[in-house]
Symmetry: C2
Subunit: 158 residues, 2 copies
Amino acid sequence: MNEIEVFRKYVKESGLRNTPEREVIIEEIFLTHDHFDVDTLYLCLKNKKCSISKASIYRTIPLLIESGLIKEVFFEDGHMHYEHVLGHEHHCHFRCLGCGKIIEFKEDEVMDIEKKCSESYGFEVTGHKLELFGYCRECLKKEGKDRKVSTIDRVDVD
Amino acid sequence: MNEIEVFRKYVKESGLRNTPEREVIIEEIFLTHDHFDVDTLYLCLKNKKCSISKASIYRTIPLLIESGLIKEVFFEDGHMHYEHVLGHEHHCHFRCLGCGKIIEFKEDEVMDIEKKCSESYGFEVTGHKLELFGYCRECLKKEGKDRKVSTIDRVDVD
DNA sequence: ATTATTATTGAGAATCTATTGCAATAATAA
DNA sequence: TTATTATTGCAATAGATTCTCAATAATAAT
Ligand SMILES: [Mn+2]
Ligand SMILES: [Mn+2]
Ligand SMILES: [Zn+2]
Ligand SMILES: [Zn+2]
């Protein structure tokens, strides 16, 4: 089931109505794997001549979250940033405090924490959000700082 | 060094000036361990007759973050929520999607992830934010759901 | 197909959060 | 005590999101 089919199913089951505007929004969001915010999405569609009002975009976002197509990633510069979920493996985010860059990385150990938390507190954990802060390799080089822990030059994990 | 002393030191070293307004804000923030937002802080001080303008509160928040006294915790209901840091052990947050409750818990394993991330990518990791989502014990009981993983009734961890 | 029902749209107004300009005030240094 | 200038409070502003409402169109019923 692709993103459009998922949304159609969700819409039907929720007693809502599907519209071309919503499908255009979904298609644009799933075109790239980048993080996005309402304004860039709005301008992007405007440039492609398939302009959709901001109100409709704002009204569609909660539906896309509810249907599991997108999720909130981080709040920055006064507004929320999102990413699509379907077909995009779960990952964490590293934010460089030097250059502002966001770097994605995969990390399974958080699942252990989830499990431990379930067992210990009786929670049902359905998801998580992990963000690391610090300085990226480029910023460390630029400032001539040394990395704290290691000097190995690997990029692969797991 | 308590929070006021830390702030005085920070202010001096940064070439800023300390003011009674700022100390009132800090004292209020360190009165309880609760999460807070600008508006509740403002109203709280207003009720205590030590009213301080919202502009000053907004202008003080970045200084408190910079000096390491508070940090951002989560963005909810259209605005940021904070907590004080000094004298408050680092912890993660579990958010119940049922009742909205935020539950704090301690978790050391994230440090391993930080370390692994440093070593693998050459980042200098200075901090993290981990949030788990799901349903708390009370909400699970209310809905008659069963917990996924365990039925043990412990609350202590580590 | 036609009609009825009502969710959705777009435009702009309204609301809410956060920032900024400015004159008065007050913290620090000389 | 005086000079310097950061800070304050207030009001204006900017920016993000929600809301109002009339027109439109998706779905269900006929
Ligand atoms: Mn991402
Ligand atoms: Mn907390
Ligand atoms: Zn960087
Ligand atoms: Zn709950």
